[in-house]
């Protein structure tokens, strides 16, 4: 039996044979059972770190199929997971001392929740994987424990009808599994998704990495064309949206992300606007006002737009709510930003010429 491979580049495509084998012939070969442990090695932790920073986002995978955890018997429980390393590792590391079977679905290296929403952590893939691994021959019972956040993709009653296996949804968080196994039930709190600071913080690095290059280019450009304070303002509004917003999210006053972002962006713009005011003592009052106002107009919508986009990284915002937010706030963001940019151009030109 092979040891758990680290990030494996195999994806669904290579499982589809070039020359079409007849269905019966393929079904007769169950995939090999691999072994795994509940220990996370330094290589595993390095893989998690890289994944959190967005390095090779789709390549943090394990091979789909059946895994033996510990010394399972045909009576041992079956846990189902996605083939994203963070998902698989969260599951097995929570099951220290447990003998069980882990059925890994091919979600193309995507986590359970997103894959469920997309349908890849879904009824069809689960049924397919049960059949291809010959799970019915490996275990004597007919029970599967699925992560609760897989539910948007899996119809439990349909899995039962098609395979005879009964789906039970375990707790949201893997660390609650030992308690769940002990009592045979999940408490209401185990079934609630929360968004604590720690969960918000782990989302920051990957958003930051994606924003850094465009931010640097624009900041340098504006720094040269307009002045160093413009570079600072650009960086401040972007970093407020990408780093500060996830951290401060629950403490910002309003309900929707866009208005929270506008408030945070406004607060970020104040010191920059003040610096613009103090830095132009000799200028005519209207030029000075323009130099201050351009930051107050252009910065908040940048932060607000980044905040609006953070909705996609949460399990709280609904499609209806986000759509409503987009219609309510994007025009305002566009006007504010447009006004700020127009003013910036005007002020810069007047300074250059005057």
């Amino acid at each position: 039996m092979e040891q758990t491979p680290s990030a494996n580049r195999d994806c669904g495509c290579s499982l589809i044979p070039r020359a079409k084998k007849p269905a019966t012939e393929r079904a007769a070969e169950p995939s090999p059972i691999r072994t795994t442990t509940s220990t996370l090695t330094r290589a595993d932790r390095r893989d998690h770190f890289l994944a959190r920073w967005g390095y090779k986002r789709n390549e943090h995978r394990v091979e789909p199929g059946l895994y033996a955890l510990g010394n399972p018997t045909p009576e041992s429980p079956v846990f189902v997971s996605a083939n994203y390393t963070l998902s698989f590792d969260a599951l097995r590391s929570a099951l220290g001392g447990v003998d069980g079977h882990i059925l890994v679905l091919d979600t193309y290296g995507i986590n359970v929740w997103c894959a469920a929403g997309k349908g890849t952590f879904g009824t069809d893939e689960l049924v397919r994987r049960i059949e291809s691994t010959g799970l019915g021959e490996v275990v004597s019972h007919r029970k599967l424990i699925l992560p609760q956040l897989g539910a948007p993709g899996v119809a439990a009653h349909e899995v039962k009808k098609r395979t005879g296996f009964k789906v039970e949804y375990g707790p949201v968080r893997a660390p609650d599994l030992p308690e769940y196994l002990r009592t045979g039930a999940a408490t209401p709190e185990m079934r609630r998704v929360r968004f604590p600071l720690k969960d918000r913080l782990v989302l920051v690095p990957v958003e930051l990495v994606h924003a850094l290059l465009p931010l640097t280019i624009v900041a340098i450009g504006l720094g040269l064309l307009v002045g160093p304070l413009a570079a600072v303002g650009t960086a401040a509004s972007v970093l407020a949206g990408v780093v500060l917003f996830p951290i401060l999210l629950p403490w910002l006053p309003t309900r929707d992300f866009s208005s929270k972002g506008l408030i945070l962006g406004g607060l970020t713009a104040l010191p920059v606007a003040l610096a613009a005011f103090l830095g132009s003592p000799g200028a005519a009052w209207w030029l000075r006002a323009g130099g201050v106002l351009m930051y107050l107009l252009a910065m908040p919508p940048v932060t607000a737009f980044l905040a609006l986009n953070f909705t996609g990284a949460t399990t709280f915002t609904s499609k209806t709510g986000v759509r409503r937010e987009m219609f309510a706030y994007i025009p305002a963001m566009a006007w504010l930003f447009g006004g700020g940019i127009a003013l910036t151009i005007a002020v810069t030109l007047i300074r250059l010429l005057g």
Binding site: R9, C11, G12, C13, S14, L15, I16, P17, R18, A19, K20, R57, N58, E59, D106, Y108, I110, C114, A116, G117, K118, T120, D124, E125, R128, Q148, L149, A151, P152, G153, V154, A155, A156, H157, Y169, V172, A186, P188, R191, R192, V193, L308, N309, T311, G312, A313, T315, F316, T317, S318, K319, T320, G321, V322, R323, E325, M326
Partner: protein
């Protein structure tokens, strides 16, 4: 059959109590405790907390729940609106032309979709 639906104008979640057989799956799968047991049928207790993930709808064996679920991320919706696609999808990979695990008509699906194979 005109069934009374529980609705709200905050989101698209609809619940038809007459179809409920009290299996409790919706209570089990909801990440925001929108439903709670209440005697012979479940009750919607936190309608506004629904994030339209669709887990309840999918796991209700009698179709007592309806919700317009789908990708709720602004970036995907903006992208879909700009490029004229119907349904925004998430994920860093472009959609492979063969849906996962299905039988493509030809084996060339993998030849053209090198992105999904890294």
């Amino acid at each position: 059959m005109a069934t009374e639906a529980i609705r709200s104008n905050v989101n698209t979640l609809e619940y038809y109590p007459e179809k409920c057989i009290n299996c409790g799956m919706c209570v089990a799968v909801c990440p925001h405790a929108v439903f709670a047991p209440n005697g012979k049928a479940v009750q919607v207790v936190r309608h506004e907390a629904c994030m339209e993930c669709g887990a309840c709808q999918l796991n209700c064996p009698t179709g007592a729940i309806a919700v317009d679920s789908g990708v709720g991320c602004a970036a995907a919706m903006i992208y879909a609106a700009l490029t004229g696609k119907d349904e925004p999808t998430c994920g860093p990979d472009p959609e492979p032309t063969c849906s996962p695990g299905s039988e493509p008509d030809t084996a060339s699906c993998c030849d053209t979709n090198t992105s999904c194979c890294g």
